[in-house]
Amino acid sequence: MSPIFLIQAINVLYGVTTLAVLVLGLAVIFGLLGVLNIAHGEFVMVGAYCAWAVTADGLPFLLAVPLALVVCGLLGLVVERVLIRPLYHRPFDTLVATWGLSLLLRKTAEAIFGLGFRSVRLPLAGTWHFLGVDYPSYRLVLIAVSILVLAALFLWYGSSRTGMRIRAMVGNADLAQAQGIAVKRLAAGTFIAGTILAGLGGVMVAPLVPVQPFMGLDYVLRAFFVLVVGGLGSVLGVLAGAGAIGGLDSVVSALIDGTYGYFTVLVVAILFLWLRPRGIFAHN
């Protein structure tokens, strides 16, 4: 196997796993709560600025994780309370409300940090010799962390008590409440978990991309594509969607070029919306 082919294969794996993690936050909020969170990308952006703030102060990169947890968690708490709670079960209204929120977050970031690009120093520079090829070490770590996060979430959602309660709430909120599940609190917790996951995704990609107020736009569209293709309400759906969208994009970009990669993604998303709007793993 030629080394270039192998690197492209790792690129595909990298593309799929990181995309899956970047979608998780939206999968939780849109997939479980039915809230069309257009501001998903802005929570990713906030996470990325957390990484920048920590490293710019000369602190270790990993401190960005608790910082993003706190910042995105608090943001999620406030947003859920003020904006989302009155709008549950009104998907279109949540779309408009979170669109406004995305503008507000973007402009706030612009007001605080300015429009200029920020760069976050790679916490792990250089490449590792791996299966006979050199691959950037930080990206390899990201692949591993992404797989761990996905696996943990898969297990937790399927087997924990809270996971079961959430599934009950998603299945039938009224019935769940009648069973003594505090649905409001559970929904709030689920929303906050979604914003935190988005923020942590932002921390992860921050050392690889330009950090700037508009960066969220890069993530939100692709995240919705993944959910359209994969279907809502399950970790498997996220994986399938990320595999289809991220995989196709990476493979076609490697074989032809980025324009065709993006083109394929758009075509696949449209075909799914048209022919199979509930996705591969539809949640009923």
């Binding site: 270039i4 690197i7 492209q8 690129n11 990298y14 593309g15 300015g114 429009l115 200029g116 690009f117 920020r118 760069s119 120093r121 790679l122 520079a125 250089g126 490449t127 050199d134 691959y135 950037p136 930080y138 990206r139 690889l208 991309v209 330009p210 950090v211 700037q212 508009f214 960066m215 736009l217 890069d218 993530y219 569209l221 692709r222 994009d249 990476s250 970009s253 490697a254 070029d257 980025g258 324009t259 990669g261 993006y262 083109f263």
Partner: protein, 396 residues
């Protein structure tokens, strides 16, 4: 036909706007008319919204500085310069609307623009040569419309000398071209292929990524690793430029392959960061780091006026300084803003850009170009190319 319809609409609009303006201004008309004769009104089109608005504050500050300096010396033909700033960061059609308003309502005498080339085309067809239009930023060359004057760097000035320098000093023979998929990168690469062939080099790959899409560059960088060229010529802009260069260095290719980026200024380099900018080159007419008497004086005046926290200086932004100075030189040489006279006067007109005086020929500007390597995230100037020709000659 469409053209005719458009013209009628615009005339109708003109009538309505003038009527409205006359009515609403009637009480203060006399005072206003007197003031209007005294001021030289310049429309300044810079991005104030959207991602490019990063450059807006620098452009505004530099134009203000130039206008202030000119006004202290009597303005333009004895008239004080007044700047009318309009947003050019939105869709070109919106900018064109602002241009119509500035022409009809405010009666600007001349327009200066620092924005993308799509907006430039919209403004050219809005002004239709009625007022001099000075297009200041780096661009792909070849713009020759009536009463339009281009000050920015062209491929002939950026690519030719730097490719030649890399061939001579770094023994570069093979080149890989990567850019965003729109007019400017494709035109630049078209020109670049000629210059590469001229030094006996070879293009070993060429690819474009969709402009404005959320691009990733792992695949492109791996492809480049497979081809292993001596130089990658980059015509990606903004976030794509940052993203590509960070990925490129992340894969460790910066050690063996040189990169030459066509739109790399101070803000973009900040995004790329020190660790990803080794063996990366940029060729521009202006860097804040240029150490010559003209630039040092310019920077001192800039800091004196706007303080230590003034917007970052870079080639996009300081072009507005040259724009105002050019406007003064041109209009004074032509004794007014008559289009024919301005066109004729533009030939050989000399004016101050931030890094020193430059001369216009064929409505483009010959200028000194600076090649910088970006080691450590700083522009270190390694070569100066004196008095480079623009490669475009327009009728005057």
């Amino acid at each position: 036909m469409t053209e005719g319809k458009l013209a009628i609409t615009r005339r109708t609009l003109l009538g309505t706007a003038m009527g409205g303006a006359a009515l609403s201004l009637a009480p203060g008309l006399i005072g206003r008319a007197a003031a209007a004769a005294g001021e030289f009104k310049i429309g300044l089109f810079i991005p104030l919204s959207g991602p490019a608005s990063l450059f807006g504050p620098t452009g505004r500050a530099c134009a203000t500085l130039a206008a202030d300096e000119a006004n202290k010396k009597g303005g333009i033909l004895g008239r004080q310069i007044k700047l009318f700033i309009a947003d050019a960061g939105g869709p070109p059609a919106d900018t064109a609307k602002s241009a119509v308003r500035l022409m009809l309502q405010d009666g600007i005498d001349l327009a200066i623009g620092s924005h993308d080339s799509a907006t430039m085309e919209a403004l050219v067809s809005t002004f239709k040569g009625k007022i001099p239009y000075v297009y200041t930023p780096v661009y792909q060359g070849g713009e020759c419309d009536f009463n339009v004057y281009c000050l920015g760097e062209t491929p002939a000035q950026q690519v030719e000398p730097s490719v030649t320098w890399l061939a001579r000093n770094k023994h570069a023979k093979t080149f890989y071209l990567i850019g965003d998929d729109y007019v400017s990168p494709r035109k630049t690469n078209e020109a670049a292929k000629k210059y590469i062939a001229a030094v006996g080099g070879k293009v070993v790959g060429e690819e474009y990524v969709p402009f404005g899409a959320p691009n990733k560059f792992e695949q492109s960088v791996t492809r480049i690793k497979g081809v292993n060229p001596d130089v990658v010529l980059i015509t990606l802009v903004g976030a794509d430029n940052v993203n590509f260069n960070r990925t490129f260095a992340g894969f460790g290719l910066d050690k063996s392959i040189a990169r030459l980026s066509m739109l790399l200024e101070e803000n973009t380099l900040k995004g790329i960061g020190a660790e990803s900018s080794n063996n990366l080159y940029s060729c521009m007419a202006y860097f804040a780091a240029i150490d010559n008497p003209a630039n040092n004086a310019f920077k001192a005046a800039y800091t004196a006026m706007f303080g230590a926290n003034a917007p970052q200086l870079g080639t996009i932004g300081v072009d507005s300084y040259a724009g105002v100075n050019f406007a003064k030189a041109l209009v004074e040489k032509a004794h007014g803003t008559n289009a024919r006279k301005c066109m004729a006067a533009s030939e050989g007109v000399r004016f101050e850009a931030a890094a020193g005086p430059v001369t216009m020929h064929g409505r483009q500007v010959d200028k000194n170009m600076y090649l910088a390597n970006c080691n450590g995230g700083q522009f270190n100037i390694v070569a100066t190319f004196k008095n480079m020709k623009s490669g475009t000659t327009c009728k005057v």
